[in-house]
Amino acid sequence: MAVTKTSSVPDMVVLSGELWQELLKLVTAQYKVIGPVRRGSEHVFAPVKDPRVLDMAYVTTILPPKKVFHQPFQVLFSFDAEEGTLAEAESGEEKVVWGIHPCDMHAIAILDKVYGVEYPDPYYLRNRENTIIVAKNCTEIGEDCFCLSMGTGPALRSGYDLLLTDLGGRYLVEVGTAKGRKLLSGLDVPPAPRVVLVEKEKRLSQARQRFRKRMVTQGIQELLEENFRHPIWEELMRECLACGSCTMVCPTCFCYNVVDKMDLDLKTGRRQREWDSCMLLEYAQVALGQNFRRDRDARIKQRIYHKLLYYEPQFGTLGCVGCGRCIGACVKRIDITDVVSRLAESVESER
C-alpha cells in the first residue's frame, strides 16, 4: 500500500505496556471511538470513552461494524408535508473504529461497491470518509469462523488506516494511510525492526491452524446453479423460522426499507431507512398480495444464492466473508458451510 509520510511517525511500531495505554488514551481523548466492548457473554461495537472498557481479545461481535457506515436507522432528510424536502441529514463528526477484524473489513470493501457505484450513496460515503479504521488481525479464532476458506482472513492486507497484530502482550502497529499515521503522531516511538514481521507471520500461521470450520468454495457456483431444486431446500424450510436474524447480523447484507415518520404536529416529518431482510415475508410482496417469495425455502435460497452466487455478477466477489455470525445467531443453528457441504456430498454420492 502506498503510504505518504506526513511526519516523522514510522511506518511500523511495536507498542507495549505504557505506550499502548498512552495511544489508547490519546485516541479516545481526541476522537469519538467505537470499539469492541463486552456485553454479558458477548461483545458489541460501542462508543468507548474510557479505554479500559475496550476488549481487544474479542472473537466476534453481535452486529458487525457495518452499523457505523450503513446504519440500522438513517434519517435521509426532513420534510414538510406540504412544502416538500427541508434539510438533509447532517454528517457526523470524525470518528475512529477500533479493532475491526479482517472479515468485517472485507465486508466493508463489498459495501463500498454496493454504495459507491452508479448512484453513490451520500450517507454511506460520508460515514466512510469521516471514519478512521484501525483494523486488527485475528490471532484468536472463533468456533464459527471460516474466513480462511473465504480468503478474507485471518490477516488483512489492505483497506486499513492502521493495522494491529497482537504479538502477545505487545502490539505491532502498521500504518496504512496518512489518516492512520495521524493517530500515532502524539507518540514518540522508534520504528520497529522488520524482523517483527517474522513474529507476526508466525502468530498468523498458528491462527490459520486453529480454524474448525471451512466453506467448500471450489465449484460452488456450479453446485448451486445445478441444485436449485435439490431436496435440501425443503429440509431447510422445515427447520428455518424465517426470523431474519441471519441477515440482520451479516456484515455484507445491505437491504433496507424506507419509512416516512411524521412528527406530532402532523405537518413535518423525516424519511428514514432501516435495515431489512429478505427472510421476512413482506420483503417481496407486490400489488394485491402477490409475493414472489412466499415460501420459506424460496427465501432461504434467496439468502444463500445471493451470498454465494449472485454477489459475484453484481459486485465481482462472493458475498460471504466467513464471519460466522449467521451461524451463531440462528436459533436452529443453520450453518451456511454445512448447507454447502451437504449439498456437495449428496451430489457426490449420486455420481
Partner: protein
Amino acid sequence: MINPFKPEMAVITEVVKETSDTTTYTFRFKESETRETWGFEPGQFNMITVFGIGEAPISISSGPGDTGFFQHTVRHVGNVTNALAKKRPGDVVGIRGAYGTGWPLRLLYGRNLLIVAGGIGLAPLRPVIREVMRQRDRFKEVEVLYGARTPGDMLFVREFPDWSKHVNLRLAVDMVPPGVKWDHKVGVVTTLFSEMFSQPSNTVVLTCGPEIMMKFVVRGLLHMGFSPDRIYVSMERRMHCGVGKCGRCQIGPRFTCKDGPVFAYEELAALPEEVLGGVGR
C-alpha cells in the same frame, strides 16, 4: 455530492380519471432548471413521493416528445397510490428519476412492432405508442394488443380513435358485465393472437402486464415462431430506492430498478423459473 434520494418538487397540473381505480396525472417540475434538463426514455419510471406517506415506483406514461410536462398513470392499490388519489391540481409531490432501462427504441426503427399489454401494463407502453405516432415513418407495421378485466377497466380509451389511425389496435376483456356493449374480443389477451396480423419476421415484441400474462404471451409467441431475442418484458418488483441500493427489487443477480424494469426476455430466461415466478415449485 448529489443526493439521489432527495426528490424534486413537482406540481400536479391536471388530473384525469381513467377508470374507477386508476388516474392519470400531469406534472410540471417547480424548478425551471429541472424542467429544462430533465428527460427520460419510454419504459423508465420515477419514484413518486407523497411526503409523510412514502414513495412508489411508477412508470412514466407520457411520450418523450411531450415537453414541459410529464404524466403518470396510477392504479390506487395502497398507501402511496391511495394518497395520490386525494391530490388535486396545484398540489405538490416529490419526484426522482427517471430510473431504469427503457424499451429498446433504436432497435425498433425500421422494424415491425408488436405491443402486448395487460391492465396497468399499458401505462409504460403509452410513451412508445406516442413516439410511434410522432415519428410514424421510422417504424414499419405496428400492432397493439391490449387486454383488461372489463371494458370499464381499460385505460386511455379516449385516445383509442387517435391511436387507431397510426397503429393496429386490438382489444380483449376477460368479462363483459351485463348491459355493457362490447364489440371486441372476450377472453385473455393471448386470444387476440389468432386474429393479429403480426408475423415473426422482423418483428420486435414489447410486453408488460401481470407476470402470469407475460408468461403466456411469451410462451404463445415463441410457439408461433417469434424470435426469443426480439422479445422485451417489463418486470415489477417492490422498490425502495430505484437506484440499486436497497436490494428489494432483486431477481436472481439482477436489480429490477437498474438492470430493468425492461429486460431482454433471454436475459430472464436464463434464470430458474422460481426466481421469476417466485412461488417455489
